[in-house]
């Protein structure tokens, strides 16, 4: 039984030492090279900083070396927390204060000065003599592997803590369901602080495959992207929906197209029918898979292989659960059993996160005892996503709260509102999301102009959370009970 993801790398390095495991635009590593670096850095981390299951922040700009650092941290018996240095400083400071890292790996010295007192190290600091050791073998599979952040409604991002066991389970189930070929070539689109990338990293290790990192710029220049996909013979894409949407909206396959594709898997948000139709008609022999799941259950808990006979103009189901995981619907504490009835998606299994890092209060609200299991203890995760079942398949219908999916990311609208109302001279703020056009609009009262308000938000929150429009109101439309009428606001936003 595999208890630690390092086992995958150890096996690959033994079996396929000369195979390229990891590549970027102008650099590549074989499995033997990757293993020797991970071992060297991992032993140095353990020797200099200990191997006591502590969080280590890794400043990550979507480069192959980042992955070597992640694996080195795991080798050292600690766990990694990717930090994107291009996020606003306040956001980075919030994340660092949540995890309180043991130290920070910042190889290119990218983190703003003064943001943290913690020691920072680069590759050369880890290039030192350290005793031969395998601290990862001392860990157990319920120990954390990484923490990834997601939007929190209280205004502070939540650190979702994921175990080796969760990732090994995800990897094994993906491989058993989809049967990736030995030596598949994965084209990684998602940045490493986004959990879509977790699948690329570990499934390629499991299959002895090659992970090709596709830098962000390629997605603004689709002809270069297609060229890269062909040059490197990339055959598997596990992407966020917006990346697929970019290529369909730009009619990217008009002249050249990727020639080696076998699998296109997507998640992050509901795929627009036009996007799916464009891709499926461009690649009649490729398998397309819709994946669903929040970060808290390690990537995905349901899948649907899209049939050529499926009606693409209708909603695509999120499908059926992966093996070794239960996905069921609850209405409060009661099961939803009848097809067509709507309930909240709940998940149990090895894939569950151990909760939000340092926030047992937030964890307790959503990681709960299964109300349907009275005989023994079983944790479930309440996703807050609503769904119904039809012909045995689940369909996503929306949220219980005001959380939205935008550019593939989960966003709590209340987090944007809290940030906006902390701007000087802003009073009440309320956000709405026009799903059709993927536009966030913020309405506000107070003595500030819309540009200053938006620039305040831009300094505090990640780019994907910044509203497109800010509209000043004298007073908010209210419902009969005196609450802000969000339906009226949404209509106003659509009419802008």
């Amino acid at each position: 039984m595999i208890c630690n993801i390092i086992s995958y790398l150890e096996y690959d390095a033994e079996k396929y030492p000369e195979r390229v495991s990891l590549a970027g635009a102008d650099i590549s590593y074989t499995y033997a090279q990757e293993w020797s670096m991970v071992k060297k850095y991992g032993q140095a981390i353990a020797y200099r900083f200990g191997s006591e299951n502590k969080p280590i922040a890794v400043v990550s700009e979507h480069k192959p070396l980042d992955i070597i650092f992640f694996l080195s941290v795991a080798y050292s018996g600690n766990f990694y927390v990717p930090i994107d240095p291009l996020l606003p400083e306040n956001r980075i400071a919030d994340m660092l204060s949540v995890i309180d890292p043991h130290f920070i790996i910042d190889n290119d010295d990218r983190l703003p000065k003064g943001i943290s007192e913690k020691q920072r190290v680069a590759a050369q600091d880890l290039d030192c003599e350290a005793p031969q050791a395998s601290p990862w073998l001392e860990r157990k599979d319920t120990d954390p592997l990484y923490v990834l952040f997601t939007s929190g409604s209280t205004g502070v991002p939540k650190g979702v803590t994921i175990t080796h066991r969760g990732v090994v389970d995800m990897t094994e189930q993906f491989c058993s369901v989809f049967g990736f070929e030995d030596g598949s070539v994965f084209g990684n689109q998602a940045p490493f602080d986004f959990d879509v990338s977790v699948k690329d990293i570990f499934i390629s290790l499991k299959t002895g495959g090659r992970l090709e990192i596709l830098e962000k710029k390629l997605f603004t220049l689709p002809s270069l992207l297609i060229q890269r996909l062909n040059e490197r013979k990339i055959n598997t894409l596990i992407w966020a929906v917006p990346a697929l949407r970019v290529l369909s909206a730009l009619n990217a396959f008009r002249s050249d197209r990727p020639m080696f594709l076998k699998d296109v898997m997507f998640s992050g948000e509901t795929i627009p029918p036009k996007t799916l139709e464009y891709w499926m008609s461009s690649f009649p022999d490729v398998r397309f898979v819709n994946l669903y799941g929040p970060t808290e259950i390690t990537c995905n808990c349901t899948y649907h292989i899209i049939g050529r006979e499926d009606k693409l103009d209708r909603a695509v189901p999120i499908g059926v659960p992966f093996p070794n995981c239960s996905v069921f619907l609850l209405n409060g504490e009661d099961p939803v059993l009848r097809e067509g009835d709507i309930g909240e998606i709940c998940v149990s299994g090895s894939c569950l996160s151990t909760g939000y890092f340092g926030r047992p209060d937030l964890s307790k609200a959503v990681f709960i005892q299964n109300p349907l299991e009275k005989r023994y203890s079983e944790r479930i995760y309440r996703t807050g996503d609503l769904s119904f079942k039809k012909d045995g398949k689940l369909y996503f219908t929306g949220r219980k709260d005001t959380q939205i999916k935008h550019m593939g990311h989960r966003i709590e609208l209340s987090e944007i509102e809290l940030c906006a109302s902390s701007a000087p001279d802003a009073e009440v703020c309320a956000c709405v999301y026009d799903e059709e056009k993927s536009v966030i609009t913020i309405f506000y009262t107070g003595n500030t102009d819309s540009l200053s308000l938006l620039s305040h938000i831009r300094k505090t929150l990640p780019r994907f959370m910044v509203p497109k429009n800010a509209v000043k109101l004298d007073d908010f439309p209210k419902t009969r009970t005196g609450k802000i009428d969000r339906k009226v606001l949404l209509q106003m936003a659509k009419d802008l």
């Binding site: 710029k217 603004t220 002809s223 909206a249 990217a252």
Partner: protein, 76 residues
Amino acid sequence: MEKILEILEGCCPGVDFETETALIDNGILESLDIVMIVGELSDEFGIEITVDDLTAENFNSAEAIFNLVNKLKEEE
């Protein structure tokens, strides 16, 4: 040119389009910005911007975009 600046600023508020000359090379415009900009330019000027037109040279500055639009308008 003014219309183009208006479209660009509408798509990505906060970017200084009048002086910036490395919109693509410095990653200021992201892929979804390009989608929005290409959509608006096509609607506004009745042109078709194809994937071959999407190069860094054509999109690094407002002026380059202006030149591209003019070129495509002449070809119509």
